[in-house]
Amino acid sequence: MAKRLTPIPFVGNPESRNLGIQDQRYVNIVFERVPTEVLKQHTIYCVKRPGISNEIQPVTTSTGRGIHSWALTGSTYSVFGNAIFSETSTLTASMNTSSGRCWFVEIPPSTGAAQLVICDGQDNYNITSTGVITQIDQADDADYPTSTLGPVAYLDGYLFQGASNGRIYNTAINTVSSWISGDYITADTHAGALEAIYIQKDQIMGFTKNRIEFFFNNGNPTGSPLLRIDQNTIGLGLASRESLAWSGEAACFVGENAGDGDAGRAIYLVQSLSKLRDISSPVINRFLTAEGPSISSCTAWMERVAGQLVYCLNLAVANRSFVYHFETGLWPEWETSSQARFNCVSATSRNGALYLQDASNGRIYTFNASTFRDSGSDFRVTLQPTRSEFGTPLRKQETGLSIIGDSTLSTVQVYANDDDATTTYTQVGEIDMTSPQKRTTRLGGFYNRAHQFRYEANSSFRVQAWQPEIKKYGV
């Protein structure tokens, strides 16, 4: 007689034994945790990720380099190729660079005039609230730092900018365009090349390739106002500034210590300027290491998606996107309808809407939890739990399989891989998700089996667990 096993939750992290897609992974979903504190319980739902909808297209084809919503003007500013746009209006189409990430920082009105500063790693572009844009480089101010890295930060009336020579320069107070040649501090405790700067609370973090140094505004009467907090220096650095993303008081990045080689890569979270910890797993760390120098081609963003904060890291060589969920600490993957990495490179939000920037087609999308297709194309949800022999190494038969989840349109296709040496999954059943009983039968015999569940319809999809019915042969 077949035995109905305990429901197995659709929850898990990537378990790839190599850099393939053979083992456990959950694709194009978000894990949603609903706690019930009074009962000391929580429920984990596995929910289809939102789809992207075409919003605006400032330019038809161009490299996406960053977007930012400026609350002061209520507009979204974006950089595509060598052009800066406010919504669909071109502010400039003559930037000195046409690729690479651009960095944004808002300057408050207390400095004299509110401005949005965009840095492309060569020049600054200062935008006023009325849309007047001013390019700042060495021709405008001979003291403007050469070889800036891109990341900019504002603190107490100063604009800070890192340079490849390890210096963190600052403007004269309450200006964003007047630089002073001697006003800098150097991030060089352990001789690592400066990669980026980033501010959290009242400290500016200087990320070098092998250390993170922390600076605060010491109010020095001359030179840089910053002073290093020596005891805060951390013995790991930033693999690539392209991996750095933040939202509120949380920032994530791919860390490494270049002095120890790049095999030590991991993803780190620094939160509320109190703790810095690694959040990735050995499986994900292997992908990071395999990127090699191409880690500088990754893209990353952090935003709230469907009610929870996520960090999305898109890896170029692996062509995969890993998405960290702060609520659960889990890492599902996201991909396009053609099973490539999620193709959005930057994110921002305004008035409750989330906007994503495409890597190459000049589009800005909305990312709404009530959208279930990507620009009109269906994409696949893949739930691939870990392989099991279901309690016995003997050959057995799967007489039935049920899904515990919400009713929705269409079907879930059930696939199986019964040979650990291969990566091929074969369809063994189909479950009607419109039916109250979400069950399929006669799924065949095996020694051990890895299941795979696919859902591709234009509809919501929320499940909790699956429940196989297993019968040993001869019993």
Binding site: G157, Q203, F216, P221, I229, R277
Partner: protein, 77 residues
């Protein structure tokens, strides 16, 4: 792996200089309590846990007749 990050230390005294910190619009001066003499005595364990609303007491603090030391003692001069 987890690392602790310490908060910023007290800022340089220049931080109090308006020229170094024009974003701050309120002038203030730190109160430096007078030295304790033989004629003074300390009320032990008197907690200053309530808001001081008396104008006379505020005046006394301002002119140095009463000093507030630390968080737990009221010094009457």
């Amino acid at each position: 792996m987890e690392f602790e990050i310490q908060p910023s230390p007290l800022r340089n005294i220049n931080r109090l200089d308006q020229r170094q910190n024009p974003a701050q619009s309120i002038n203030y001066t730190a109160f430096i309590p007078p030295t304790i003499t033989d004629e003074q005595y300390i009320i032990p364990d008197r907690q200053i846990g309530v808001a001081v609303q008396s104008v006379e007491i505020l005046d006394a603090i301002a002119n140095g007749s009463i000093a507030v030391l630390g968080t737990g003692r009221l010094v009457v001069i």
